[in-house]
Subunit: 331 residues, 2 copies
């Protein structure tokens, strides 16, 4: 006999009881004031704090048939840690706003908390979950705010690239998009609805692509490393290299020239795939790239187009736009 | 003839175009790095930052038949500004994560941005919207992160109340709950579904109650004022006075004794109503209360119950729990 009470729904418990179970999982606070008061108080030793927020919504951003609670928590943390890293900062704290149906199992909530914590531990040691909010919603939604510290350095903006700079990348591009294709092509039913994953049917390469999509591991520590090495501009590549390089080029008033030979065996996915959370950075031409970055091109004075791919303007759709791409209504 | 293109939906526009229209409305950044990069950079002059997040979800937290876009933006900002104030801090920045259906009109989004900005201007001058995130969702959801500065003072926690302290309140209690009752009793159809407001049918008092529910104006500036005056404990009263006073009492290891004669003409609503966003603070007995606070009781050594109301343990349900109260399924 199954004891229903062993895994109640969030509707069965008080907010305080759910919070208690989450806080048991997310581990010790590293803050001046951690969870439990009206707000957290986080150290910002150099008098500045980096702050970003990113949301994952069931349907457009993930499907429960494909993502475990742990995956979802891990990804929700990872994508925000990457944004902090892209400023050249080290993550210090996460705040997690979780909106979920009353029918959500508490085991799902604790799994999600485990994923959040694991992402901090693996990608940003010293960063912990320091606050959050629980709400009822028909649509499972995880909004994570990440804070970070610059350790006295200037933030690395998108606008600092200069002609002559090297363009470099940390992390792999195209895998998350390939993983998404595997999900849509192999794990949907005749009506296009997601069906549960069966990883046994996948090659090792496909498994890696799927992991890149469902549980990304952006090179968070390389953000501050790039800043320390003198990066002139940096950003998280989450909407496809061409689109994100265009943003960096527009902000800097330059042209980003990309060489596809540097992009690995699947340059098409690398150029237009989304959700990789790699770091795109520019460095003065005479700087040795920090370990973990490799050169993918160079910065030129602004020409006719913001981006050149192998010397030509890119063709076709450049990247990912959440209001145009996935079909949010079939979630 | 109506020009449909004059008010497109968010599904008609690119993310960049929607962002541009929002940023036009939210006014100048006050940050070191404002919107437009991977993250914002906010000053934290004394080496600490206060951070909190709170989410409003369509259905459980608001109904579009009752809340205008402006109201929703105002409330989403106000409830977070109140949490920063409750630490004794001054709000410095908001990050806004907005998840909305593709069918949402852009005029709704700009109205919401106007409400966010108006709340900052009215309640927390110097605080601005410095970042955010747009996502597609079937459920309109606004998650706001608020940051704040302590100006060198210690944060005022829930845990600092001591026997002999005066218990004081800034703001009015019970109005938001009365406003909610007006909505449910007067502006629902036979099936309990919300119908549009008609303010002409309301008395001035009812209009005030409705405003307290839909567009609350917490006494944000009184949070730092209380801290400067020596408040020993403080919190935002959002879940009803009895429940929130219980939390303060538990955190401080004391008993909070409340005198209902101090609570105005409707003590029942004051004791148990939610969403007032008043400030509950304790001060040493010999301190003159800062202007805007009035005494509602005193702190005693911990007795049998955490809270006493007119010397007796409170009876009945103590307050608001989002997983128990509103019916989230009828939104």
């Amino acid at each position: 006999m199954i004891d229903e009470h062993a895994d109640p729904t969030v509707g069965d418990l008080s907010e305080g009881e759910i919070l208690r179970r989450i806080l048991e999982r997310v581990g010790p606070s590293a803050a001046l004031v951690g969870p439990g008061d009206d707000a957290a108080v986080i150290a910002a030793a150099d008098g500045r704090v980096v702050a970003t927020v990113d949301t994952l919504v069931h349907g457009p951003d993930f499907r429960l048939a494909w993502s475990s609670a742990f995956d979802l928590g891990f990804k929700a943390a990872a994508v925000n840690l990457a944004d902090v890293a892209a400023m050249g900062a080290t993550p210090t704290a996460l705040l997690v706003a979780l909106a979920m149906p009353e029918s959500t199992r508490v085991s799902f909530v604790t799994g999600l908390a485990d994923g959040l914590r694991a992402a901090c531990r693996e990608l940003a040691p010293g960063c912990a979950i320091e606050g959050g909010d629980l709400t009822v919603s028909d649509t499972l939604t995880v909004a994570v705010t990440a804070l970070g510290a610059l350790a006295g350095r200037d933030p690395v903006l998108r606008s600092g690239a200069r002609p002559g700079d090297a363009v470099a990348l940390a992390g792999e591009l195209g895998r998350a998009a390939r993983g998404l294709r595997v999900l849509f092509e192999r794990f949907t039913d005749g009506a296009g609805r997601p069906v549960p994953l069966d990883e046994r049917t996948l090659t090792p390469g496909e498994r890696g692509d799927l992991a890149a999509q469902l549980r990304p591991t952006p090179p968070v520590a390389l953000g501050p490393a790039a800043a320390a090495a003198g990066a002139t501009a940096m950003m998280d590549v989450s909407d496809g290299l061409v689109l994100d390089a265009t943003r960096l080029a527009e902000a800097s008033g330059v042209t980003v020239s990309i060489e596809t030979a540097t992009l690995g065996p699947d340059p098409a996915s690398a150029l237009t795939g989304g959700e990789d959370h790699a770091l795109l950075a520019t460095f003065p031409g005479d700087v040795a790239l920090p370990h973990g970055f490799h050169r993918i091109g160079s910065i030129a004075a602004r020409g006719e187009t913001a981006v050149l791919v192998d010397g030509r303007p890119p063709s076709g759709p450049g990247g990912w736009d959440p209001y145009r791409d996935w079909d949010s209504r079939s979630g």
